[in-house]
């Protein structure tokens, strides 16, 4: 029994095991189910539209807002500074590198509450801890921010700052989305961070 035969047999056996496994390039959840469960039930993973509005007017660069809707929807209206990863493409290879962007927060939003929260479970399951959801999605955004108008006699300081933030966010949103498509497209492209290229080989 010489070494060649031994090695050949070992490798062949392992190869056979591999051949039977359902291997595929695409990714799988890596965190433990119980950990993921407690993460997705953590209330801190939700952000209100008002919190997002504040990020927008302060143009916080540590925050990345991700629009999960279709490119068409994204082109017609989107939250200023957001980038577009259609939900159907979230699990494609390069999206991983986009989430892996060193931002402290990636905030998902869709029109409503489904896609954004599926996306959160997926992202957290793939161990991207820096992911959050804008609760209520764009519908909630329009309901609260775009159609915000104060009704009442007196206004407290808190309410005042809140409404001021909403008004400014609304203004930015409207200006941004009122741009002619050509300009808007340029703006979107300039915002879009390309998936960072992997480093390696002999180059």
């Amino acid at each position: 029994m010489n070494t060649r035969e031994k090695f050949s047999i070992v490798l062949l056996c392992l190869g056979f095991i591999l051949a039977l496994l359902p291997l595929s390039g695409s990714r799988s959840f890596t965190v433990k189910p119980n950990e993921l469960l407690s993460e997705v039930l953590d209330d801190n993973t939700y952000l209100t539209v008002d919190q997002v509005a504040k990020f927008i007017i302060s143009e916080d660069s540590s925050v990345q807002i991700i629009d999960l809707r279709s490119p068409e929807e994204f082109k017609t209206v989107n939250i200023p500074g957001s980038i577009n990863i259609p939900y159907s493409e979230l699990l494609d290879n390069d999206s991983g590198n986009i989430l892996n962007n060193g931002k402290t927060m990636n905030i998902f939003y869709s029109n409503g509450d489904f896609d954004s929260n599926y996306a959160l479970s997926i992202a957290r399951g793939l161990n991207f801890k820096n992911t959050y959801v804008m609760k209520g999605g764009l519908n909630e955004w329009f309901k609260t921010v775009m159609n915000s108008n104060f009704t009442g006699e007196t206004i407290t300081a808190r309410e005042n700052s809140l409404f001021e933030a909403r008004t400014r966010a609304k203004k930015m949103f409207t200006e941004m989305n009122s741009l002619p498509d050509s300009l808007k497209l340029k703006f979107i492209q300039s915002k879009h961070i390309a998936a960072k290229k992997l480093d390696g080989g002999c180059e």
Binding site: G15, L18, L23, S24, G25, N100, N127, L198, G201
Partner: protein, 200 residues
Amino acid sequence: MGPISSLITMPEWLDLLIALLIGIGFGFSLEQAGFSSSRKLAGMFYGYDTTVIKVFFTAAIVALIGSQLLSYFGLLNLNLVFVNEFYVAASIVGGVIMGAGFIMGGFCPGTGLCALSIGKIDAMVFFAGGLTGAFLFAETYPLIQNLANGSYKGPVKINEVLGISPGLFAFLLIIAAAAMFWIAEVAEKKFARPDITNEI
């Protein structure tokens, strides 16, 4: 999970330390395998010593099996591991030139380096030649730019081209390798050159 470098943004020194350690392991294995001897390396082209084929394919297959298993266990995300980009013309022409260099010099860059490290003078000359080669390439780059960057296919994986699972391809590759190992050892007996193999 892995590769680690994609999980945490490493400080440069740590990244380079890893590079150094990997390099040490690399050099050590090459030298232990006997790749520090040009006549041993050249032996595989004349059949009297086929170490190269054995080491080369064993290594590639071990790494292949290992990485596939790690990804199956969810420990390594293969989408974040570099896959060489395929420039059809450049790969083929470059490969042919390398083959010529291999048979002339008796080293490839990696093996040349570890031969040099144990004091082989021919390896040092090979290294000097290597630097010259890199320099020539840099200077002639404008002329061969089109060849170098032409027919770009991107980082394509062979199992995707064939439309089979990576595991199945690995299995086929291993079968081929096992056959090659067997042939190699037959060849070693057929073209045996004790006069040479005893010297190296």
